[in-house]
Structure formats: C-alpha cells, structure tokens
C-alpha cells in the first residue's frame, strides 16, 4: 500500500502535502486525495473484514443483476419508442406483416429482429430482472432466518424490503411497456384493480390513463416510471443499503474466536475485491448464457395488444404471481349500493396483497418488541435455535407458495391433469390452513434438531464402531466432538420469556398489567417458553457425562 512507503511531514498537516511524490502515479493520488480525501477513505475501508459464507453472497447476486439490468436497459432505451401511436408493421417477421400496432410494440419487435444483438440484450435484461427479484427474496429470507435483522440492522432491513417492493413494481412496469398482448392484459388487470377501489378508483384510473382504457398515455408514463423514477429511488436506497452494511459491519456465524465485538474473515482488499469482482463476471456470464439459450417474453408470438383480444396463460412475471393467485381464487363477490358497485372480488385481494408483504416487513419490530432486547447482535442465529421465528418465516413462505399455485392454476391443471376448480378450492382452503400446518411442522422440526444438537454435545457423534462387551451386550462407540464444535453448537443464547410485573407493588397496592403488557408476556411465552425451545446443554452436564462411566 502506498501509505506504507510515503512520508508524512507532520500529524497536523493534511496528507496531501507530502513532499516529493515518488512517481507520477503517487502525484496523481496525492492530487486526488487533496480534493476527495481518498487516503483516509481507503485506510478505513480497504482492509475492511468480511466473513466468508456462501449465503452472504446472495446480496451480491442482487447487486450484480441490478447493474446488468441498468446496463442492458440503457441499450434498450436507445431503440425503444415509448409511444402508442398506431403504425403498420412491415418488418422481417412474417406472421406480423401488415398488422396494425403501437410504435412501442413495433419498436420492441424491431429490437428483437432488426437491431444487432437486440434480442439477446432484451433477454438478458428480462432474465436478469427475474433473477434479481428472486435473489432479493432469497437474500431477505437468509437475513430473516438467521436473525440478521436484529439491532442495529432494522433500518437496513426496511431499506432492503423497499428495494424488493420497488423491484417488483419496476419489473411489472417493464413488463407492461412493449404493449404486446400479454403486457396489455397486465395493464388491463391493473386498471381493473384500480377501478375496484371504492370512491376514488374511477378518478385514479382516469388520471393515470388520461382517459378511458387504453388511451395513448399509459406507455409513455410507465416508461418514465420504469426507466427514471423507480430506478432512481432504487439506486439511492441501494447506496444507503451498502453504506449501512459497511457501517454496521457484516454479521457472522457463531464459532470459536467469533464474538459480538469482532468480525472474523478476509479483508476487502485484495481478497474480496478479487472474489466480488470475479463473481460479478460469473453472474453476468451465467445470465448471458441463459439468455442465449432460453426465450423470455416472446412478444412477437404474443402479437400486438388489442383490447378485444386475450390469450390464456396470461400471467404476470413470477414476483407478481401471488397477487394473480389472490385474484384468481377470490370468489367474485359484489355489493351493489345506491347504484354503485363495490367489487369485493377484486378489492379484497387488492388489500391482502400489501398485507402479505408488510407482514414480513414489520416482523423485526414485532420480535424486538416481544423480546425487549435492546442489545446489538452481530452473531447470527442458526434457524433451529429460533424455532418460532423460523416457523413463522416458513409459514409466510408456504402462504406465498400457495398463492403462486393459485396464480398458475391453469398450468397446474393442464400439466398435472387436475381440475381447475379443485385447485382453486385447494388454494382457498390452503390460504388459511397450509401456513398453520407449516408453522407447527417447522417448529417441531427445529425442536427436533435442537434435541439432536444437545445429544451430540453430550454424547458425541456415532462412530459406527460396534463393540461387544464381556457380558455380551453390544454398544456403539460414540466419539466426543472437538472443542470447536462444542462451542459452535452451544454458542447461541436462549431468551427467557418476560415476566409480568408483580400483581401488587411493594406497598400491597394492586397493579393491573395493561392488555398490551399481558399480550406481550403471552407472546414472549409462546416464543421462548417451555415447548418452544430445548434447554441447551450446560458445561456441568457435559462434564458429568464425559467424566464418568463411558457414554450411556
């Protein structure tokens, strides 16, 4: 590092006034430092330590796919015409010859067939978008199940959640832009949802579309939102997200030598610079390879949008699939009052849609309130050691998956030879039942794994060596775990349920706990009480067993 070879004239002076830079590179660095202060930035950050685990690279996948989306998106804007003016196609794709369509659609077909590399770039853009949102969801699940959202990272959790939601919507707007039959159907779906909002729905619809559907405004408006507004907000949130990661430092798994006050791992420079840089190219390469192999969004096959046409298999991209599921399985209830119709069949799903997302977003704050834990946490939980949290997360995922099945009910029907109606009834029931079953199963599963850990700590691992004792009994020899594993398996803390304050204060005056306090105590018992965790083995227990007579 250059700072090692440089000389400083005095502590009080800024570092840029060093005498006699050794060469022109050092001079240039000095010049920059005098204006941007890069030396102190580099000193603080270049040797920043990051722990090594594959699950910590999920966020990197998000970052890199986001970069890929921006790069390819810029290329696409060079050729895309966000206009709904009518043109007649006369390009090279025979099945569309002579058909009237919007300029947006025509230019997207041209990008696919006339522009050099256009189709590949389009497919990279779209595949990267699918993987981007998928990676964000998996990244969020990693953070959730390891408890990495705990203090001090709650705000960063919210930033990440906003990125996910914005990513979903930006994906939807992008899907809507080419004005093909599929995207037009998607916009129509959205229009229907807006119209279902009581009182203001029709006004919002008229404002958004500049008149009746489809009008001439929606594609140019969505274009601005898709390429400017949402990516701009996302870029800001992304930077904030990364700054906070640096500021908080990265979490790490429990292990010998790892504490709440240190980070054990490799330095950013040179190890992670190389790894992360290399990983970017791997991500880009894999996405490009997939885009070269498999079609995505074949708009030429969908045909141009016309309000009187529709194709089956009209689904949104997967990240909006759960909203599609909500609509598809909801009974078509309607209430007519004083000449107005309240379309509950659409309005209720429209209200559940944000609730599904918010449920996971607010979880850190709920858990923080229940535990009352104000300490910082930098050591991750193994999911089994937080059974209720893990079970809640699994229940949320199961709900999400049930709704995805609802969104793709027609394809499940045709490909598994099932009745569409039965799938719909299953999803309606499953919406309420499956998360509960998942919760119970997952919680018990976690407890089982905790018991297994306890067993392993106290009795060691099975060696597979069978010994016959002099009196004829057969036993399997167990080997003690190494010290390091013993530490890892017992490093987690076990919260205790909070106690209600005494019924009477020191003067004997009755003190009734408020409803909120009682709820909290009840929830706390549910999270950490008996039956929600297996007491971890203590050093005494271990000592007693290992010092005595063999292993049983």
């Amino acid at each position: 590092m250059s700072s090692a070879s440089s000389t400083t004239t005095g502590a009080a002076k800024p570092s840029s006034t060093r005498a006699n830079p050794a060469n022109k590179w050092e001079a240039a660095a000095d010049w920059t430092d005098g204006r941007l202060g890069i030396y102190s930035l580099a000193k603080a950050n270049l040797r920043k330590i990051f722990p090594d685990h594959w699950s910590f690279m999920l966020g990197e996948i998000c970052l890199y796919t986001f970069v890929i989306i921006i790069l390819t998106g810029v290329y696409l804007t060079l050729f895309f015409k966000p206009s709904m003016a009518e043109v007649v196609y006369n390009g090279s794709y025979v099945p569309l010859k002579g058909i009237g369509m919007s300029e947006a659609y025509a230019s997207t077909v041209d990008i696919s067939f006339e522009i050099r590399g256009g189709l590949l770039i389009r497919q990279i853009h779209h595949w990267a978008a699918l993987v981007f949102v998928a990676a964000m969801l998996v990244h969020m699940m990693r953070v959730f199940f390891t408890g990495a959202f705990r203090k001090p990272r709650e705000i960063n959790w919210v930033f990440g959640f906003l990125l996910l939601v914005l990513g979903m919507f930006d994906g939807f707007f992008g899907y809507s832009l080419p004005d093909d039959l599929l995207s037009g159907t998607g916009i129509r779906f959205m229009e229907g949802a807006i119209l279902a909002v009581p009182l203001v729905g029709t006004y919002i619809q008229m404002f958004l579309f500049g008149g009746e559907f489809p009008g001439h405004d929606i594609v140019p408006r969505f274009f601005t939102i898709h390429v400017l507004l949402i990516p701009g907000i996302m870029l800001g949130l992304l930077v904030a997200h990364l700054i906070l990661v640096f500021y908080h430092k990265h979490t790490q798994w429990a292990g010998p030598g790892k504490t709440e006050k240190n980070v054990v791992g490799m330095p950013l420079m040179p190890v992670y610079m190389a790894k992360a840089g290399g990983f970017f190219f791997l991500v880009f390469g894999i996405i490009a390879a997939i885009s070269a192999i498999a079609t995505i969004n074949p708009i030429w096959a969908y045909g141009p949008y016309r309000p009187d046409q529709v194709s089956t298999d009209a689904q949104p991209d997967w990240y909006m699939g759960f909203s599609e599921g909500l609509i598809r399985v909801m009974p078509g209830w309607e209430i007519s009052l004083w000449g107005h119709t309240l379309n509950l069949g659409v309005f209720i799903p429209l209200m559940i849609f944000p609730l599904v997302l918010v449920a996971i977003a607010v979880y850190p704050f709920i858990e923080g309130w229940i535990t009352g834990d104000k300490r910082e946490h930098h050591i991750l939980d193994r999911p089994r050691n937080a059974p209720v949290r893990t079970a809640l997360g699994a229940a949320w995922i199961s709900l999400y998956l049930v709704l995805l099945i609802g969104g793709g009910n027609d394809l499940f029907a045709t490909h598994f030879h099932l009745s569409l109606n039965s799938i719909t009834y299953f999803v309606r029931t499953g919406f309420f039942v499956v998360p509960v079953i998942t919760f119970i199963v997952t919680k018990r599963w976690c407890l089982g794994l905790q018991r297994r850990d306890k067993e392993k700590v106290l009795h060691g691992r099975e060696t597979g060596v069978i010994k016959r004792l002099p009196h004829g009994e057969y036993v399997e020899v167990h080997a003690q775990l190494p010290q390091k594993d013993l530490h890892t398996l017992t490093a987690h803390e076990q919260n205790q349920p909070i106690e209600l304050p005494a019924q009477a204060d020191e003067n004997g005056v009755a003190r009734k706990a408020g409803a909120l306090t009682r709820t909290r105590a009840k929830l706390s018992r549910g999270f950490y009480g008996e039956g929600s965790q297996i007491p971890k083995p203590t050093a005494e227990e271990h000592h007693e067993i290992t010092s005595g007579h063999g292993h049983h």
Binding site: I61, P95, Q309, G321, S419
Partner: protein, 269 residues
C-alpha cells in the same frame, strides 16, 4: 360440296339431316352425360354407407345407438356431418377409451378409408358440415399467416394460448394443444366445434378466414424456428419464472457456494 349442295332439295334430305342431328346430339349426350358415372358413384356411395354402417355397428353403436340415434353414453350423430366424423375418428378421439371430463386425442385406430366409410354412413343419417377439400384448408398466400394470426388471437387464443399450446378449462376440461394437428382437422374443428369448443360455421367465420387461421396455426406450431432459443413450452411467464428460479438463481447460488468454498488460506506458521 357441290354434290351435297345439288342434293339439298332431295326428298330424303330432311330425313338425313334429322338423322345426322339426332346422331350428333345423342353422341354428344353419350360423350358428356354423367349418367354412367353417376350411377357408379351412387353404387360406390351406397357401398360405402353399407361398409360404414357395419363399422359403426361394431365400433360405435354401443354408445351412439345402433342407428346413431344416441344413448345415455353418447350423443346422437344425426346431422353431425362427415366433418365431425373425420375430425373425431381421424384424431383418434373416437372411439373413446373411457368416460371422463374430456376425450383426449390419441393415435387413430381406423384407416382413412374406413373413416370415409363411417363418414358416409353418418352423413346419410342427416345433412351436416361436410369434410373440407385440400384447397379449402391449404393456403398458398403468405399474407394468410399474419391475417390468420390476428383472427387466431381474437377467436382462439383465449383457450388455445397465443402459440396454440392449449390451456385449461373448468373441471378437468381443456383446450388441447394444436401442435402436430393436421390442417384438415383444425379446419373441421372450427366447422363442427367438438367437445367444449364453440363452432365457427361459414356464416360466422367465412371459409377464407378459417383457411387463414389454419395457415397461422400450422406456421406457429410447426414451421417456425424460435428466434429466442428454447421456447420453454410457449406457456408464458409461469414457466419462465420456474426456469429463472431453477436454472438462473440455482446456478448462481451453486457458483456462490463454489466461490465461497475456494478462499485464500491463512498462512500456517
């Protein structure tokens, strides 16, 4: 000519002219009249009807009734026409294997000759849509593909999907995939509206438009190499999402695991 002309006033001239005229008329009539052919056709037709009736009695009558009048197991076939027979038997749907939500397409078990005989028998029960001739469904105009595409998206895609891949209907019924279906059978399906499909008679959809739709379906399901690579079934975003999760994110996570597993090792002192 002089000789002939000199005898034109001969007493028998009129008779000769009359005889010649009769001979010419009779000869021409004999040459052009379809009398013999018609007779042969009727014979062949009645033979086909007889053969068809025999085939029908063996293969179809248990459900459709001994005279095609229908039963609790199958509908009446009076007036369904030769097009319906050619479609149902030619695509292997009939004879049906088992009752169910919908009778699936399967390898046909009758030869085209036998199918024609069955069709002849069924058409003899009552008039109905007639199986089309090749010039009715084989398009030669390249513009028909795009016109057919527009018609297909308006009339067919809501069930059969934008690329003719089929789709789900209620209670286990479905719109079948149009891949590998003969042009004639596509045409006949539109004429007759088999199973859950609505029919598109010439009064609502002229022959020309049916031909264009056939041209589009044949083009989009068979001839076209997909410009973007694997089609993933041409089933829209659901299969794309599945593919993206498994092969996109799946591969990336596998690579992440590989990268994380190959790290610099601290020097052992």
């Amino acid at each position: 000519m002089k000789k002939l002309s000199a005898r034109r006033r001969h007493p028998l001239a009129a008779l000769v002219v009359l005889l010649l005229a009769l001979a010419a008329t009779g000869g021409l009539y004999a040459a052009f009249a379809p009398a013999d052919k018609a007779q042969a056709d009727v014979a062949a037709q009645s033979l086909a009807i007889d053969e068809g009736k025999r085939l029908f009695a063996v293969g179809c009558s248990s459900c459709h009734g001994i005279n095609g009048q229908g039963s609790s197991e199958g509908p009446s076939l009076v007036g369904v026409g030769s097009a319906a027979v050619d479609f149902q038997v030619g695509t292997g749907r009939m004879p049906a294997q088992q009752p169910g939500a919908q009778v699936p397409r399967k390898p046909k078990i009758y030869t085209q000759g036998e199918i024609d005989q069955l069709a002849a028998y069924i058409s003899s029960l009552g008039p109905g849509p007639i199986a089309p001739k090749p010039e009715q469904y084989n398009s030669t105009n390249p513009d028909d593909i795009s016109k057919g595409g527009e018609l297909f998206r308006t009339n067919c895609a809501q069930c059969h999907n934008f690329a003719g891949q089929g789709g789900a209907l209620t209670k286990g019924k479905y719109a079948p995939s149009l891949e590998g279906v003969d042009a004639k059978h596509i045409y006949e399906a539109m004429q007759t509206g088999p199973q859950n499909m609505p029919s598109f008679p010439d009064s609502t959809m002229p022959e020309e438009q049916k031909k264009q739709i056939v041209a589009f379906v044949r083009h989009t399901t068979n001839d076209e190499p997909n410009p973007g690579g694997l089609t993933l079934g041409s089933l829209g975003p659901v299969t794309e999402g599945l593919f993206g999760w498994i092969f996109g994110l799946g591969t990336l996570i596998a690579v992440a695991i590989w990268v994380a597993a190959h790290t610099t090792k601290a020097k052992k002192s």
